[in-house]
């Protein structure tokens, strides 16, 4: 990851966003309800970093990205990108940024990849010669040279994402916004996308990313802001977040066994240091049951293996996992990141 500059390239101060939704109550009556999508969001993003907004679905991540990309106006608050006000200087802001907001749907499927890039390049007032050079550079870098002249509708999902990513880089943006860039990708394509993001960042582009995938956030980010119910609840480097919020060093252990261990789980929970123990029953043929154990002490692992041995259970394998951002989120909110929080509390307002 590139060296960070102390001068913030994105500065968000006390941003609020409230949506007002209409609900018909009978034929003549309409009730208006407010949903507070963002509440007092204040963040600084530094030049050259990968900044990740991590939060569950419905936390307000996309709303914030849309405000920064000038697609939405905040209800209150200010935001600057490279010193430009996203409210009063939106046209200038749009010249130095780019975004991938709708994933594979960001491009025209009836056109070829090249036609798409030529079109979007022109919308950035680029010289046709520069556009062609950029297309060559991007198609080589993203390995889409062989498909660039084919209609986008014939691309695979991963290839469509690559083209959308190329479109987002066509104008060499100073800040690149990526809204859930791997959300619907298969693991291999998601990996490729993450590599592309890293390479882009290494070339000096500041990346503002949203995701609800904690592994992705952990792997890519210089800084992570955790957003929950429209509020920033923590901002720091991934390691600092773990250090700060996981005061107890938890170890997640996965022990693969040869048969179900009904009745032994309570014994494991009683072991000193063990905070949680559960059994996973295989869903398919040829798979084995496993025991998921969370402990604060190394000794508990040896003790649990010994209990399994005493009960004639063969251990087929054992793996440990370090604490993750999921644990940080759990420690902060008492919920997991996979929970959908899009059903917000709505407040009825006068019309």
């Amino acid at each position: 990851m590139s060296t960070l500059n102390s001068n913030p390239i994105i500065s968000i101060k006390n941003v609020y966003k409230t949506y007002v939704g209409k609900h018909r109550k009978g034929f003549f009556k309409t009730e208006y309800r407010e949903v507070h999508a963002l509440k007092d969001v204040t963040i600084d993003v530094h030049r050259g970093e990968i900044f990740t907004l991590l939060g569950p679905n419905g936390a307000g991540k996309t709303t914030l990205v849309k405000i920064l990309t000038t697609l939405l106006l905040p209800t209150r608050g200010t935001a600057f990108i490279s010193g430009l006000d996203v409210l009063s200087e939106s046209s200038k802001v749009r010249r130095i940024i780019n975004a991938m907001l709708m994933g594979e749907r960001s491009t025209y499927w009836k056109l070829s990849g090249r036609q798409n890039l030529e079109f979007f390049g022109a919308l950035y007032y680029m010289d046709p010669k520069d556009i062609e050079e950029k297309i060559e550079e991007l198609s080589k870098a993203l390995k889409i040279s062989d498909i660039i002249d084919r209609p986008v509708e014939s691309y695979s999902s991963g290839q469509k994402y690559k083209l959308a990513f190329a479109k987002a880089l066509i104008n060499d943006p100073i800040v690149l916004f990526l809204d859930e860039p791997t959300a619907t990708l298969d693991p291999r394509s998601a990996n490729e996308m993450r590599e592309m993001i890293k390479k882009t960042n290494k070339r000096g582009t500041t990346v503002f990313l949203t995701t609800h995938n904690m592994l992705e956030a952990d792997e890519l980010s210089d800084t992570i802001a955790i957003l929950d119910f429209g509020q920033i609840i923590a901002v720091d480097t991934p390691q600092a977040l773990k250090d700060q919020f996981l005061t107890e060093e938890l170890i997640h252990v996965d022990i693969k066994v040869d048969k179900p261990i009904n009745g032994i789980i309570p014994k494991l929970i009683e072991l000193p240091g063990v905070t949680n123990a559960s059994q996973r029953i295989p869903s398919g043929q040829g798979e084995f049951p496993s025991v998921a154990l969370t402990t604060k002490e190394d000794d508990a692992i040896i003790s649990s293996l010994s209990i399994l041995h005493q009960n004639n259970i063969r251990v087929l394998g054992l793996s440990t996992k370090q604490p993750s951002l999921e644990d940080v989120f759990l420690a902060l909110t008492g919920r997991t990141l996979s929970e959908d929080t899009s059903k917000r509390e709505e407040v009825a307002v006068d019309a």
């Binding site: 849309k66 697609l71 939405l72 010249r95 907001l101 960001s106 025209y108 499927w109 009836k110 919308l123």
Partner: protein, 299 residues
């Protein structure tokens, strides 16, 4: 926070022209992918005009004489063909331009375009120019085929100057249609699924512009409303040039034919400017309004 920023590109006039060209080029590429739709836009007015022509021929072999008495047109079928093609062109704009943003919303490309620095006016202009070019070409083909089938004598009597004048008239009455289509576009964005409203509007438009009859046949209340529509003037003037029927102001009592035609064109232009300004103003307002709410990406 206010430090000097290097802006990599300049939004010059020449740059905007290049963008308009790119939008037209992009739309043409999309059109190539949907070539069947282009064919339909040529065939629809021809199929549409068959109905009144066949009714006329069935009612009386001398229906053209009666038609001439009421409209001043020496060739009823040429009159109907021109009406149908003009109507199809205007309806095409209404649909094409009115549902432009909605289509982009569905495709998912609207936000990709809106996040670029290009002005919304330039976008509308580019899309409008494509629509005009497409409308002119398909109308030219339709009218040529229609007249070849129903009134070849009229077709061969057209001079180059007359055809060019009609093209000019179409352009004059076309831009106000962009304004009106933008109005429809704002309705589509505001109220979402109102395709049925556009469906109804196209028939209202056809009736008011006098697609198969002279607007003199309309009850006076309808005639007043019809005169507020630029296509009414455009169509009647196109017929006046090609078929020597009376221009609108002559129908209303003005005596000089040539001056009447010029006056008609001036009025068309004035109404056109009014509708275009209203349309563009509301269009931009609705875009700004959407930004205050949940944005244009929401559908």
């Amino acid at each position: 926070m206010h430090n000097e920023v290097f802006l990599p590109s300049k939004t010059t006039f020449r740059g905007n022209i290049t963008i308009v060209k790119s939008i037209v080029k992009q739309q043409l590429a999309v059109l190539r992918a949907y070539w069947g739709a282009s064919l339909m836009s040529i065939l629809i007015p021809l199929m549409f005009v068959l109905i009144p022509i066949m009714i006329g021929r069935s009612v009386s072999p001398n229906y053209e004489q009666n038609f001439q008495q009421n409209t001043g047109a020496t060739d009823a079928e040429a009159y109907l063909v021109i009406g149908a093609v003009f109507w199809a062109m205007m309806v095409g704009i209404l649909w094409d331009f009115g549902t432009y943003l909605r289509e982009e919303q569905f495709q998912g490309t609207l936000e990709s375009v809106m996040v670029t620095p290009v002005s919304r006016y330039v976008l509308a202009l580019g899309r409008g120019l494509f629509s005009l070019t497409f409308g002119l070409v398909s109308s030219f083909i339709s009218i040529t085929i229609g007249l070849l089938i129903f009134s070849p004598d009229v077709l061969f009597s057209f001079t180059f100057v007359r055809i060019m004048t009609v093209f000019l008239l179409i352009i004059v009455s076309y831009f106000p249609m962009i304004g009106m289509s933008l109005l429809v576009g704002t309705l589509v964005i505001k109220f979402k699924d109102i395709e049925s409203v556009i469906n109804l509007l196209q028939w209202v438009l056809g009736t008011l512009m006098g697609v198969f009859f002279s607007i003199a046949a309309l009850p006076w209340g309808f005639r007043v409303v019809a005169l507020l529509f630029p296509p009414t003037w455009g169509l009647n003037d196109a017929r006046a040039i090609l078929l020597s029927t009376p221009p609108v102001v002559v129908m209303l009592g003005f005596s000089n034919y040539t001056q009447g035609l010029l006056l008609d064109t001036a009025i068309t232009l004035a109404i056109g400017i009014f509708w275009s300004l209203v349309g563009f103003f509301l269009f931009i307002r609705i875009l700004e309004h959407a930004k205050k709410g949940s944005g244009l990406g929401e559908y």
